[in-house]
């Protein structure tokens, strides 16, 4: 019975999506909003990367919502996993090999530097806050692989995450107080394709990069602590 219902549901979904896909021609120009953002993005936001000017310039409020969703998910994970009965003792595990231990210690600052480069240049090259934050979180993952019992200091991690989130909201409030609306781009736009250009966009991306990096590292820290 359940199998029949499942197959009927799949067939309905497949036919629906197939009919919808036949209506959308591949490779033809479709919307006008994208054209407007490409034409006027350079003057109005000053960012050379059009996707960045859409994500942090024209649609910055949606990015604030996304950062909030990520924060709530990490909060929920921490609340679910550290309830009563969590094992926090240290097990005797075989230590990692010499190559992994010394390689992890050597590569950790380099990967963090790369992550900072990725989100600092988010308005010039492909990249941005979320990609840089994920690279920073994978640097912490490498540290856990090198030494299973190592924990990063929880106070510093939560302080970084909270301060970065507050910085994003405060930049928006500054835009509100200076100009007309929340998250207005109130700083000078500079010349295109230089590092100090595009107004508040690099500042917002730095805040998002640190916040996402600390958050994803916290998610991994909670899970590793649970399975210790």
């Amino acid at each position: 019975m359940r199998a029949v219902v499942g197959i009927i549901l799949l067939a309905v979904v497949a036919v629906g999506i197939g009919l919808a896909l036949a209506e959308v021609p591949f490779g033809a120009p479709k919307t006008e909003v994208g054209g407007y953002y490409l034409e006027h993005g350079r003057e109005e936001t000053g960012a050379a990367n059009a996707v960045t000017s859409v994500v942090v310039g024209y649609r910055a409020f949606d990015t604030l919502g996304e950062v909030t969703v990520l924060f709530v998910a990490a909060l929920g994970l921490g609340a679910v996993l550290t309830a009563a009965g969590a094992k926090t003792g240290r097990r005797d595990v075989q230590p990692a090999s010499l190559v992994l231990r010394s390689g992890a210690k050597l590569l950790f600052p380099l990967i963090i530097l790369f992550g900072v480069y990725v989100f600092a240049h988010g308005h010039l090259t492909p990249g941005g806050g979320f990609q840089g934050g994920a690279v920073i979180a994978s640097a912490f993952l490498l540290l856990y692989l090198g030494d299973r019992n190592r924990r990063i200091s929880k106070a510093r991690r939560t302080a970084t995450e909270s301060l970065s989130g507050i910085a994003f909201v405060v930049i928006g409030l500054l835009g509100l107080s200076v100009g007309g609306h929340y998250l207005m781009n109130f700083m000078p736009k500079g010349t295109l394709n230089t590092l100090l250009s595009a107004g508040i966009i690099p500042l917002i991306y730095v805040a998002i990069g640190f916040k996402v990096g600390a958050e994803l590292a916290g998610v991994i820290d909670d899970l590793v602590k649970e399975t210790a």
């Binding site: 990609q131 994978s138 991994i220």
Partner: protein
């Protein structure tokens, strides 16, 4: 270029079917990591470098790591 993309799509669908069929959950997680990686390559072919970076770093690295860490605490084999 389109021939390479078609071959990659076939490999991606084969990896997704493998994630459906395997009973060893660790192998299923590795198959879903292969799906994410090939999707990241297809994003690059579709002229979207930002999305390719995001999918490669978040989808293929962090999601797989979180799955493997969660698998250590629960059963490795299905049923």
């Amino acid at each position: 270029m389109i021939v390479i993309a078609s071959v990659l799509v076939v490999v991606m669908l084969a990896a997704a079917v493998a994630a459906l069929i395997f009973r060893d959950l660790l192998s299923a997680v590795i198959a879903s990591c292969v799906v994410s990686l090939i999707a990241s390559l297809l994003f690059f072919f579709l002229q979207a470098p930002d999305v390719a970076m995001a999918e490669a770093s978040i989808g293929a690295a962090l999601v797989t790591a979180v799955f493997v860490i969660a698998l250590r605490r629960t059963n490795r084999y299905e049923e």
